[in-house]
C-alpha cells in the first residue's frame, strides 16, 4: 500500500521515523532564529500589555457619600457637579481624571480600585464633591 501512497500520511510518518538522525537545530535557518526571537519578545510583551488588570477605567463621583455618576476614562469630557457651595468641574482625559475647578479649596480626587472603591477620605470642609477612579484591581492614579 505504501507503494501506492508515496506522499500519504502513512509514508510521511514512516519517513519521519527514519529521519531520526537529523538534528533539529539543522532545520532552523538564520531567518527562522531571528523571527522566533522577535515573535517571542512580542509574545512576552503582550502579557503586561494586555493583562493590565489594575489600570483604572472609570472615575466614581460621589457627593456626601452618595454616588453621583461614573465617568468612563476613555472618553475626554467635562462633568459638572453642583454642591452646597457651588459647582465642581471634573475633567476626564484618556486614562485619568482631575478636578478642573471647584468653589472651595483642597479638592479631593483619590484613586481607588474596584475592590477598594471606598468613599474617599479627605478635607471635605468646603468641598462637597469628590471623585475616585475605579479600576479592575488596584488604584493607579491619584490626582
Amino acid at each position: 500500500m505504501n507503494q501506492r501512497i508515496p506522499d500519504g500520511l502513512r509514508e510521511m510518518l514512516a519517513q519521519a521515523t527514519d529521519a531520526g538522525h537529523l538534528p533539529w537545530r539543522a532545520l532552523l535557518k538564520p531567518g527562522d532564529w531571528l523571527l522566533l526571537v522577535c515573535v517571542a519578545a512580542l509574545v512576552a510583551a503582550s502579557y503586561p500589555l494586555l493583562w493590565r488588570g489594575g489600570v483604572a477605567d472609570r472615575a466614581i463621583v460621589r457627593r456626601d457619600g452618595q454616588l453621583v455618576t461614573e465617568l468612563a476614562l476613555n472618553i475626554p469630557r467635562k462633568y459638572e457637579v453642583t454642591g452646597a457651595i457651588g459647582t465642581t468641574v471634573i475633567e476626564v482625559q484618556p486614562g485619568r481624571a482631575r478636578v478642573l475647578s471647584d468653589p472651595g479649596s483642597a479638592p479631593v480626587l483619590r484613586a481607588a480600585g474596584l475592590a477598594d472603591a471606598r468613599q474617599c477620605r479627605g478635607d471635605l470642609r468646603a468641598e462637597p464633591c469628590h471623585a475616585a477612579t475605579r479600576g479592575t484591581r488596584r488604584p493607579q492614579h491619584c490626582v
Binding site: D7, L9, L22, K29, G31, D32, L50
Partner: protein, 181 residues
C-alpha cells in the same frame, strides 16, 4: 431513453491533493480527541501537511488541502456550520493569505519554521477577529490573546520543525497515477 453519463476527469493533481487532504483530515480528527486547556488552543497538526504541500507543490495545492481539511474535518467531527467551523475557516483563510506572502521569503534565510509560525499567528488572528466581531462582541476577548499567542509560538515552531524534517527527506518517486477503477 438512455440516461446521460457525466464523467468528471480526475487528474493526477486531484489524486495527490485528495491524499494530502485525507492525511490532514485524519490529523484533524485525531486532534479533536485531545483535551485542550482552553477552547481554541490546539496543536494544529494538520498544518504540517499544509506546509509540506506548500513547499513541494505550491500555494494552490496547499489552499485546496487546507480548505478541504476544514470542510471535511468539520463534517467528520460534526461541527459543520457550527461556530467552530467558521472560526476554523477564518483561521485557515488568514493563514493561507500569510502563507501566500511567506512563500516569497528568501529560502536561503527562512525555512518552514518561519512559515509555520507566521501562519499560526495569522490563524489565531483570524479566529480572534471573527470571535470579537461575532461571538464575543466585547474587548474582553483580547485578554486571551497572550495565551493564544503563546500557543501559536509553541505549536507553530513544533509544526514547522516537523514539516522541515519531512521536507528534508528526499521524496520517493511516485508510481504512475493509474488507480484502479
Amino acid at each position: 431513453m438512455t440516461p446521460s453519463t457525466i464523467e468528471l476527469p480526475v487528474t493526477a493533481d486531484d489524486y495527490r491533493i485528495a491524499r494530502y487532504a485525507a492525511a490532514a483530515i485524519a490529523l484533524t480528527v485525531a486532534e479533536a480527541a485531545l483535551p485542550s486547556p482552553l477552547p481554541g488552543i490546539k496543536p494544529g497538526l494538520a498544518n504540517i501537511i499544509v506546509l509540506v504541500v506548500l513547499v513541494r507543490y505550491g500555494w494552490r495545492d496547499a489552499a485546496w488541502v487546507s480548505l478541504l481539511r476544514v470542510v471535511a474535518g468539520s463534517l467528520v467531527i460534526g461541527q459543520f456550520l457550527a461556530p467552530g467551523f467558521f472560526l476554523a475557516l477564518a483561521g485557515a483563510l488568514c493563514s493561507l493569505g500569510v502563507l501566500a506572502l511567506a512563500q516569497h521569503l528568501p529560502s536561503r534565510l527562512f525555512g518552514p519554521v518561519s512559515a509555520s509560525v507566521l501562519a499560526a499567528f495569522a490563524h489565531i488572528g483570524g479566529q480572534i477577529a471573527l470571535a470579537r466581531a461575532w461571538l464575543v462582541p466585547h474587548d474582553g476577548v483580547y485578554y486571551l490573546l497572550p495565551l493564544f499567542a503563546t500557543a501559536a509560538l509553541l505549536f507553530g515552531t513544533l509544526n514547522g520543525l516537523v514539516a522541515a524534517r519531512l521536507l528534508a527527506i528526499p521524496v520517493v518517486a511516485a508510481p504512475a497515477e493509474n488507480p484502479a477503477p
